[in-house]
């Protein structure tokens, strides 16, 4: 009886719930992260050594400027004005006073020092989380002093990766076609530069027309199109040795070359009798393989990063559209269905997106879509622009844009531009001459 009463009593006791309140945070701000880049401190002895070698008064300050500029260009960071810094660089490389940096609204801080060790340049840098008051990363680099610009790029790559979660793209080069002279008599040379426009070098003399240079994803090789006796042929150039050669012995025009993700093959178009198909050539054994076989113009092939698929553009539907197929040429599937013409598809190194050029109602667009054709987004619109190329992390696209000429044919220019996937961070890439057909290299250091 007592047990029954106890049972009823227990049932009747109301259970008070103490469930934890949960709040879902699904939105944030996309404004650039405020970062303080403190000039790297240098002792007077090292400063004198580097001044003699590099003709730079304060190498630590110069390196920090490169880092600052890279971070600003990325659009994801807002490097704070150095005038606002409360701690001086000569003590900032020690444990920083976080309150001072929080006061100027910095969320991350880069500090470090540069020293000369046996004629080499040694950089020690640290990344600090100001709000958490802790160190996030500490690295040291040793290299020859003339490599100082790359040190700045490598620091940026490390910081970028630590704060965004993805690889950087700053220690990279861009190969492009440098253009000079009037539009009807253009001199086109192959040129290469660091991604920030420095260290510009010309690789050809401008005697032959060159087009569509493409970097190998694995080494410092470049494939491009050059005209010989008015016949376009695909060439291969080793930019370290300067040796170049014709790719394959095709009895016709070869164009639109690109490397496979492992760098072992070149995929390109071969045109004969008004028909254009896609071919690959193995660079080791020189075996040529026909991938498409269709009485239409199939061109601009690009491999997926895993090498299993190829995207290309074709007019087999009557209009130029983008298609995806298996790397052996089977299972061809059209993926672009929007209004207008689609061309120059390039698969992202991340594998998630395909960038393209779109022509619609007389305007050119650079856009991206998923590999299945969904989620088309047009990032930028202009009078004439094309040839997007991905940064190695798949975050930024570089392309070229031409301006309209007036009735006298004056005012023409071609410039390189970059835009990130948000579509907001569009920037002019400074080049000494007019420029077109850019291609981004992979990271020089990992």
């Amino acid at each position: 009886m007592l047990f029954r009463f106890l049972l009823i009593f227990l049932i009747l006791i109301p259970f008070k719930s103490h469930s934890l309140i949960e709040v879902d945070i699904t939105r944030g701000n996309l404004s650039p992260l405020p970062v303080a880049v403190s000039p790297l401190s240098t002792d007077s002895k090292s400063r004198d050594i580097f001044e003699k070698i590099l003709k730079k008064k304060d190498i630590g300050f110069e390196i920090s400027k490169i880092v600052e500029n890279n971070l600003r260009q990325s659009g994801l960071f807002n490097p704070l004005n150095k005038d606002a810094f409360l701690q001086k660089p000569n003590i900032a490389h020690l444990k920083p006073r976080f309150e001072d940096w929080a006061l100027i609204k910095a969320q991350a801080l880069i500090t470090g020092k540069v020293i000369a060790v046996d004629g080499k340049l040694r950089v020690e840098f640290r990344l600090w989380d100001i709000l958490a008051g802790k160190e996030m990363m500490a690295l040291t680099f040793t290299t020859v002093p003339t490599n100082w610009r790359r040190v700045g790029h490598i620091i940026t790559d490390k910081v970028y990766k630590r704060l965004t979660g993805e690889k950087g793209y700053f220690d990279t080069r861009i190969i492009y076609v440098a253009e000079e002279g009037p539009k009807i008599k253009r001199i086109k040379k192959l040129a290469i530069m660091d991604q920030d426009g420095f260290n510009n070098k010309y690789l050809t003399l401008g005697n032959e027309l060159v087009l569509t240079p493409r970097f190998s994803p694995t080494n410092q090789m470049v494939t491009y199109l050059s005209y010989f006796r008015n016949l376009p042929r695909v060439y291969l150039l080793d930019i370290e040795t300067g040796i170049q050669e014709v790719v394959g012995d095709f009895p016709g025009m070869t164009f639109a070359p690109r490397f496979s993700p492992d760098g072992k093959k070149i995929i390109m178009s071969f045109a004969k009798d008004g028909n254009s198909d896609i071919y690959t050539m193995d660079l080791e054994n020189r075996i040529v393989e026909k991938i498409t076989n269709h009485p239409s113009i199939d061109t601009s092939p690009s491999y997926s990063p895993d090498g299993k698929f190829i995207c290309f553009n074709s007019d087999r539907s009557g209009y130029q559209q983008i298609y995806v197929m298996k790397s052996d040429g089977s299972k061809v599937k059209r993926i672009s269905f929007g209004r207008g013409l689609y061309g120059t598809p390039v698969w992202s190194p991340r594998g998630d997106l395909i960038a393209f050029t779109k022509l619609h109602k007389g305007k050119f667009y650079i856009g991206v879509m998923r590999a299945d054709g969904t989620g088309e987004r047009l990032l930028t619109e202009n009078f004439y622009q094309e040839a997007p190329s991905w940064s190695p992390n798949g975050r930024v696209l570089i392309f070229y844009r031409e301006t309209k000429t007036n009735s006298k044919g004056e005012g023409f220019s071609a410039k390189l531009w970059s835009i990130d996937l948000t579509g907001y961070n569009e920037r002019l890439v400074e080049t000494k001459t007019d420029a077109s057909d850019p291609s981004w290299s992979s990271l020089l250091s990992n």
Binding site: G28, L76, K95, T143, K201, E240
Partner: protein, 258 residues
């Protein structure tokens, strides 16, 4: 023959000059440490010590006992008669009974019903006050019941919106994160009544240091920065027991999908 030589010389691979490109020099990378033990600068150290000292002093002053209030001696306790007198004085001041008493005394019993009786009105007003007070008490009880219900349901929509809006502004989403991965960071907070954060705890903390979980770490760190930046959090002014423990689920997929 001459033509052949000229043609051959014009081939790009023959006419090419050796490239004047600086070779790519390897850079030796050495990881110093994940966590540093490097000291503060001597001057900074002094300042930090000063600040810490001040903070300690502040804490001491906060914890200092309240000023001693002079207790009334037992002798000062009023005698019952004196107390009555005091009460009378208060009553006199409040109700001014002398006048009313005089008026009541002057009216006969017949006249009572017909006459305009201010005292009765006062009484009526008093009753109205009593009723009103009852209603207030009742509604108060209802509010408390609601509060109990909220304990189970969570924050009200407006409370949640206020908190969300605040954190939205503080959270810089790392744009490098892939949108197709299941990245959700759950952080449990212990809050003070004013919304400042006492403690944060990442619920899947083991993922932070797992290899291949770099994106999770970046997201978690950005979420922690947002909390630090936002505090004191915009929490309701009442019901501390209800929200002193709070869980924030940071999910960037919606934003990254664009």
């Amino acid at each position: 023959m001459l033509m052949i030589i000229i043609t051959a010389m014009s081939l790009p691979f023959l006419s090419k000059k050796p490239l004047d490109l600086p070779p790519i020099i390897s850079v030796e990378l050495i990881q110093i440490t994940d966590q540093t033990n490097i000291p503060f600068a001597p001057k900074a150290k002094k300042i930090i010590e000063k600040v810490k000292k001040k903070e300690k002093e502040k804490l001491v002053s906060e914890q200092a006992p309240p000023k001693a209030i002079k207790k009334e001696k037992p002798d000062a306790v009023p005698l019952p008669d004196q107390e009555n007198e005091k009460n009378k004085e208060v009553k006199d001041k409040k109700q001014n009974p002398e006048k009313i008493d005089n008026e009541v005394k002057q009216v006969s019993e017949f006249e009572k019903e017909e006459l305009f009786d201010t005292n009765n009105i006062a009484a009526l007003i008093d009753k109205a006050k009593e009723k009103k007070a009852d209603v207030i008490n009742k509604t108060d009880k209802v509010t408390q019941d609601r509060d109990k219900n909220l304990d189970i349901v969570g924050l009200s929509l407006s409370e949640e919106d206020a908190l969300k809006a605040q954190i939205f502004g503080c959270w810089s989403i790392p744009l490098g994160l892939p949108y197709d991965e299941k990245l959700l960071v759950k952080i449990k907070l212990k809050l003070k009544p004013d919304g400042t954060v006492i403690r944060t705890e990442i619920l899947n903390h083991e993922r932070m240091n797992k290899p291949g979980q770099g994106f999770y770490k970046v997201l978690a760190e950005s979420a922690l920065r947002a909390i630090q930046l936002c505090q004191p959090l915009r929490v309701p002014t009442t019901g501390y027991e209800r929200w002193k423990d709070l869980q924030l689920n940071f999910d960037a997929r919606e934003m990254l999908e664009g």
